[in-house]
């Protein structure tokens, strides 16, 4: 199970109480921070996201509304006494920006930052529960999307059944991998008899800031949840293209062609106070769409 919490959904200038982009994807063990606009640490406090659960931060690109909150978060983590390693995946220049600001404050963080500069598409991180890949998106500057793919859970042991069939504990690992069990008398106990299927592995794709780009269809094919920006309503498609952003109809088109289960839209321009039309226009083409409203949590 994955749970995605929205901390910010606005583009460029904060407006109408909406904050710049930040999202937290959580499993039972980990929290992955995706982009980190100004005020993200305040939003984390508001929505009760524990800073200490975050070991991996993904920054899509170096426009300020996607990373100006990062240095404050890193500093606070230090002041709170963090000691565990932190991994940052971002365009290379960010490492200099962080270091220059730490140097200016004579700050030495009490934890290690491992900086992973994004330079080619493919796997970038891999922990106990998750595979993470990055892919290029088309924006005014170097910009990346991220694909989170839960690792396939092994089957779970049914504690009542293994006792009933007297399966020795030494065979549990093999059972979890799907093997059958043969008793001393030679009877074959089929795997399905003593194990339970685990929940399906889920996928989440985050497309950051992007112009309408059909090559995304293959990259986010059939994911359970797709986040695609909709900076503008469809009538401003020319402005969207000129600024390397997308519209409602364009995000819906990508979602539909990729056959994703659900679409989440955000990065709304500060020119819009109300967001209803974003949902109406997108749902007209791709009905299973939701607004990335701040504080909302989407279960994948």
């Amino acid at each position: 199970m994955l749970a995605l919490t929205i901390l910010g959904n606005n583009s460029a200038i904060p407006a109408y109480g909406r904050n710049p982009t930040a999202q937290v994807l959580q499993t039972l063990d980990e929290a992955y921070l995706i982009d980190c606009g100004e005020g993200t640490q305040q939003q984390m406090t508001k929505y009760k996201i524990k800073r200490s659960r975050i070991n991996n931060i993904f920054i899509s690109h170096l426009h300020g509304d996607h990373y100006f909150g990062l240095i404050g978060l890193l500093t606070s983590m230090g002041l709170l006494g963090r000691s565990s390693d932190l991994h940052i995946y971002a365009p290379a220049l960010l490492e200099n920006i962080i270091q220059l600001q730490l140097d200016a404050a004579s700050t030495i963080l009490p934890y290690a930052i491992y900086f992973h500069a994004l330079d080619k598409e493919g796997p970038i991180a891999n922990d106990k529960k998750m595979w993470i890949e990055c892919f290029r998106v088309k924006h005014r500057i170097d910009c990346w999307g991220f694909l989170f793919r839960e690792k396939k859970n092994p089957r779970s042991i049914d504690p009542v059944k293994v006792k009933a069939y007297e399966v020795p504990a030494a065979y549990y690992e093999a059972l979890q991998k799907g093997e059958d069990y043969t008793t001393k008398k030679g009877t074959i106990i089929r795997n399905e008899e003593v194990t339970v299927a685990a929940a399906a592995a889920k996928t989440y794709a985050y497309c950051a800031d992007t112009i309408y780009d059909e090559t995304l269809v293959e990259k986010v094919k059939a994911v359970d949840l797709l986040y695609h920006e909709t900076t503008y309503l469809q009538d401003l498609h020319e402005r969207a293209a000129a600024r390397f952003h997308s519209t409602t109809a364009q995000a819906a088109e990508i979602a539909k062609r990729a056959g994703v289960k659900k679409l989440l839209i955000g990065h709304f321009s500060s020119k819009y106070e109300l967001l209803d039309d974003f949902l109406t226009e997108t749902c007209a083409i791709f009905p299973p769409t939701e607004l990335a409203t701040e504080g909302s949590c989407f279960i994948v």
Copy 2:
């Protein structure tokens, strides 16, 4: 008249809904921004401070809780189409930090930034209504206080009286400077008869982050309003000294010895949820003290 609005009053980590340091000092014409912690632009929106009125920004030092909100504000000013010059007074390194972040985003601002690196005590700015000086304060890194001194207003013409005495308009400027008027018949009309005294010029001193430092007494002598940090209550005076911060009693002592009219305290440590004791302890030594509560406006 000066009006000081508090946008943030917390030290280091944002906590209990309190934001890092930022203040806006306003005259009828201008707004001067003093420090700019993360989230300052959101606070400006909340408390209806117009970004466009700010032409001068003063950054005391390069600890993040005093400037991490600056780059977001500068970027937003650009996105909002600002064209007028902006002056920034700050430690030299900040210029590189700003430029590196603008370069990373391929951003060229539509307005000019004039960067004034703070390197010696004395006058740093001077406009139609205000003299501004900086002075050194003692903190872990290079750190500066700021003294705002309104220019002495000329006397105001009394429109009824000048008409009654038939003073030609050409003499008004001389009257405002305090001169008497001699009629064609040789009668001397004393200045006080036809003009009104303007309000006294006011002074505000901002001491930034500082250890208890008696040399401040001379620097802020007899100002109308003094802001002095109180990161800790008095029982933690050893911790305060070790971290180059001050306590309630220490701020009160400086205010008392300097003979200021009013003391404002802030930069509260995130360890304190309630602030009542800050006021009680400080008022015990220097009664005309107020808490720098966010959103409060103090008329000097």
